[in-house]
């Protein structure tokens, strides 16, 4: 890695490999994560969960718990009544009725965790169990038990988007595929379990140390749960053990920590055990997707419709809002002239969903990318050719008005297909499908589109940046951009070093205190490199302009002839050094009319608010990715081994190559787990596998070799041309494997995960059908 720039040539760090500045402390155990923090006088908070899915609380007695030495506070639903929070104002920190297994019934603050746990055991609660609702279909029935009195019919959020004449498009279709897909419940499994530390000062101001990935909206969302003004909340973000979307909302343990802190006048830390983490964390939204896609005999898409039923769970967090992104894929995954999209979320007594990397697009792409493969099969085209025929190009606009300014879908398809020798292998494996032999090889292609320049679902998608330089040319960037492990720290460092010609090590980032750093919408929607990258670059360029202006005045050389390289002011043309940057800064600071370099910037991307009709160019950029999975299937056990993944993605421009690779590799691993093994087994609202032994993440031996291709489409609005990238790797891999499974065995799996049991059963059923002389239709296609 280039540490200091060579002054004679223009430094360019863009596209190089830059280390994460926090990596040495993390690798040595020095980093103090929120989980490690202890404050003077701190108490430990513990939560009593209901442990049943639907019940009335008949009686609750905390007398014995209160009396236990070392206990400082015991709270129940009576202490937080009326303080509703959440999207639909349907949640409360401590409940007066049980609506899901992990409903928080009481909380204790005590001097040690051991005392807190003993106090919980002393709380007596008498419940009257109520009949529950455990599927959205059941919840939608007229006679279904009501979960919230004020949500009739258990109806939660509803979304619709229509474009074009569906009946006409259906009539014009030669082939229609029609399937129901049921993407399942999975959860984030952050290695650092959920934790919050709250402390009130005596002016009524709350300081909360939290894992949040959206500090400024967090204030707004937390305040109603406490009945205080958002302005009276200071959010501090210590290092966290992952987030992946799970910390994009307020969850009850956070107001509980604050309520306990308020009651005791002392800092209170609530931290989950792994079992609590499994049970009480948000999930990925489960859905039932009835999708239909049509095309003509020569392979031109005619329409796509999706009727989506969402299992809302007991409360409304980000999960049931995913149709906002689902519909962009339904309407924008290839050129789809006619679109009909509906989604309804229904309250159930199941755990509720938050946002999770890929946000709705994991579920939709599971369906769209399999139907693309089915249609290609039915019109007897190589899926690659079918994809290319329908692929959108730069300059096209989707029915929802997503403007694909720089679109590299074709390049992604071609790069992935040629690197993996896709077409040849696909034909070869399909021909061997019914040949004798236990192990079958398959290759599958899938793709998707995702917002890559933020998503304007809030009133603002902007970021504030403050950049200052000291007398030694050390740079501090004070930014709203949060770091949750994804590596924005390295990106910001790289951009500052690039613009100001200072060594990477001379850049410090302050981004963890809402009283210090300015507004940002948070780490989500693959937005941070794009948005914070632009904010940082603009701030650095303002600082550079100020420095070069001062240099012009002092050196008498016009600014256009000057540049900053290698810690010096140099001649732009040949890098001849003129003055040390730190000397110049000191001269600026200590002259008769002194000036300091401290600039501010507010960057708001050129995107349009989502709007109620969902017709808007809601992101400043869009990106595509194509994954090709090569697998071996053990037809006896149903076990899928992923032998290799070729992934091509439009990244706009590579900024930090090492961080980019890391995001793609890590995103793929989450997608592989989703595809193959992860599954929350929820039986009548109760989670049965709340541990890593029974909820299986991808481990090192299962990680396949990856062949990554970064396509640089040079996004005009992105920093140096970059686009946001981190969700697509999680989105595309599962249907690529599903399509490979079809190629290998002729079976289709509609309900993930593709566990050995599921795959073995499907193979067995197909064999039984074939033996009975019934020719299995390859894709449940309907010729009309």
């Amino acid at each position: 890695m280039e540490k200091t720039a060579n002054p004679t040539t223009k430094q360019t760090l863009i596209g190089t490999r830059v280390k994460k500045p926090d990596a040495p402390d993390k690798a040595t155990g020095k980093t103090r994560y929120i989980n490690d923090m202890v404050l003077p006088q701190m108490l430990i908070g513990k939560v009593l969960f209901a442990g049943r899915p639907h019940a009335r609380i008949v009686r609750i007695d905390t007398t014995a718990a209160q009396a236990l030495p070392g206990v400082h506070a015991v709270l129940t639903g009576q202490d937080a009544t009326g303080l509703k929070f959440g999207f639909s104002r349907d949640n409360v920190a401590l409940k007066d009725k049980v609506r899901c297994e992990h409903d928080e019934i009481a909380a204790v603050a005590a001097e040690t965790e051991e005392i807190a746990l003993r106090a919980l055991a002393l709380i007596e609660v008498e419940y009257e169990d109520l009949p529950g609702v455990f599927t959205p279909e059941a919840g939608a029935r007229e006679d279904a038990p009501l979960i919230h009195d004020n949500f009739p019919g258990n109806k939660s959020l509803h979304f619709e988007f229509e474009h074009g004449d569906l009946a006409e498009a259906e009539a014009a279709s030669d082939i229609i595929v029609d399937n129901v897909f049921r993407p399942h419940h999975v959860t984030h499994c952050c290695m650092g379990t959920s934790c919050a530390i709250a402390d009130f000062d005596h002016n009524g101001k709350l300081t909360i140390w939290t894992q949040t990935q959206y500090p400024y909206n967090y204030k707004m969302d937390l305040a109603p749960a406490l009945g205080i003004n958002p302005g009276d909340i200071r959010v501090i973000q210590p290092p966290v053990g992952g987030a992946f979307g799970s910390k994009l909302d307020v969850y009850p343990y956070e107001p509980i920590a604050a309520l306990l802190a308020k009651k005791t006048g002392r800092p209170v830390k609530v931290i989950y055990s792994r079992e609590e983490e499994f049970k009480a964390s948000p999930t990925r939204q489960a859905a039932i997707i009835h999708m239909r896609t049509g095309c003509t005999r020569d392979g031109v898409l005619t329409f796509r419709s999706a009727d989506v039923l969402l299992d809302n769970g007991a409360y409304t967090s980000w999960g049931p809002t995913i149709p906002v992104i689902m519909m962009r894929t339904v309407s924008g995954h290839y050129r789809v002239p006619v679109v009909d999209f509906k989604a309804q979320a229904i309250y159930t007594n199941n755990p509720y969903a938050g946002s999770f990397r890929g946000y709705g697009n994991v579920q939709t792409t599971w369906a769209t990318a399999q139907q693309m493969d089915m249609l290609a099969d039915l019109v007897d085209m190589d899926p690659l050719a079918f994809h290319l025929k329908n692929a959108q190009r730069s300059g096209e606009v989707t029915p929802q008005k997503s403007f694909l300014r720089e679109c590299a879908l074709v390049e992604c398809l071609e790069a992935a297909a040629s690197a993996s020798d896709y077409s040849r292998k696909r034909t070869e494996y399909a021909a061997l499908r019914d040949a004798p032999g236990r192990y079958k090889k398959g290759i599958g292609l899938a793709s998707s589109v995702h917002n890559a320049g933020g998503a304007k679902i809030h009133k603002s998608d902007g970021i504030g940046t403050i950049l200052k330089m000291d007398d030694y040319a050390r740079v501090t960037v004070i930014t709203g951009a949060s770091e949750i492990g994804q590596g924005i720290d390295a990106v910001i460092t790289l951009i500052v070093a690039e613009e100001l010609g200072v060594p990477l090590e001379h850049v410090t980032i302050v981004n963890n205190d809402s009283d210090v750093a300015p507004w940002d919408v948070g780490v989500h929607a693959s937005r941070t490199t794009f948005i914070a990258g632009n904010g940082t670059r603009r701030a650095a360029q303002k600082a550079k302009a100020q420095i070069l202006n001062a240099a012009e005045r002092m050196l008498g050389e016009p600014t256009e002839t000057l540049d900053l390289r290698g810690g010096q002011v140099v001649f732009e043309r040949d890098g001849t050094p003129l003055i040390q940057l730190e000397r110049l800064l000191r001269q600026m600071h200590f002259k008769a009319e002194p000036e300091l370099v401290m600039v501010t910037d507010y960057y708001e991307p050129k995107s349009e608010p989502e709007g109620a009709r969902h017709i808007s160019d809601h992101s400043a950029a869009y990106s595509h990715a194509v994954h090709i999975a090569e697998i071996t299937v053990d037809t006896l056990t149903g076990e899928i081994t992923v032998d290799k993944v070729t992934a091509a993605q439009d990244v706009g421009r590579v900024i930090n190559r090492m961080g980019l690779e890391g995001q793609v590799e890590g995103g793929l691993a989450i997608g592989l787990g989703y595809a193959l093994s992860e599954n929350m087994q929820i039986d009548k609202g109760m989670l049965k596998n709340a541990c890593f032994r029974d909820y299986k993440l991808i481990t090192a031996p299962e990680m396949p070799p990856l062949d990554l291709h970064f396509i640089e489409s040079n996004c005009a609005e992105g920093p140096y041309g970059a686009k946001g990238i981190s969700e697509l790797p999680t989105i595309v891999i599962a249907p690529a494997i599903a399509n490979a499974l079809y190629n290998a065995t002729g079976v289709r799996i509609f309900n993930p995960p593709m566990s050995p049991e599921t795959v073995a059963r499907a193979i067995h059923e197909r064999r039984a059908q074939t033996n009975a002389g019934k020719v299995a239709t390859p894709a449940e296609g309907l010729a009309v």
């Binding site: 280390k19 994460k20 984030h188 290092p239 690779e661 590799e665």
Partner: protein, 164 residues
């Protein structure tokens, strides 16, 4: 309900330690809550994730499963013990250089395990590393850069005993 405390003595990262611990206390809790050694992480408490991996008498163990009293008379090395006065241990440095660290929460355990594998087999192959790290979960990285880092150190014979 006072539990019985036992006095134990052991070597922690090369220095002698003695303290009293309850019979039910796990080594992970002793390190983190009694000794302030927070480098070793809790992520499951059930021996299923490897975040709490430490080394005892040259063997890696899940400290969340092992009783603290069993440290008596033994040589304990934690992630904090790998660093030398000259700087990061070569394995730590390789993890940093190869971008293996994202959120980093799994990394103390991952690095302890990787270093131990390399100490026992300096010629460790990528496949052997994959198998050897099976018990260490990471949700961020997809292990690819972890394996790159281990591969870069393999064959360099820099992973002798960790004790300073």
């Amino acid at each position: 309900m006072m539990s019985v405390e036992t006095e134990i003595r052991f070597t922690l990262n090369g220095r002698p330690v003695s303290l009293k611990v309850p019979a039910t206390m796990k080594t992970l809790a002793m390190l983190r809550d009694r000794l302030g050694m927070t480098g070793t992480k809790y992520a499951c408490g059930e021996g299923e994730c490897g975040a709490c991996t430490i080394e005892i008498d040259g063997k890696t163990v899940n400290s969340c499963l092992m009783y603290a009293v069993d440290c008596d008379g033994r040589e304990v090395v934690t992630i904090e013990g790998l660093r030398t006065p000259e700087g990061l241990h070569p394995v730590q440095q390789a993890f940093v250089d190869h971008g293996a660290v994202q959120c980093g929460f799994c990394m103390p355990g991952m690095i302890m395990q990787a270093r131990n594998l390399l100490a026992n087999n300096p010629e460790l192959t990528r496949e052997q590393a994959q198998r050897g790290l099976e018990g260490n979960l990471c949700r961020c990285t997809g292990y690819t850069k972890v394996l790159d880092a281990v591969e870069a150190v393999a064959g360099k014979n820099t992973c002798g005993r960790a004790t300073p």
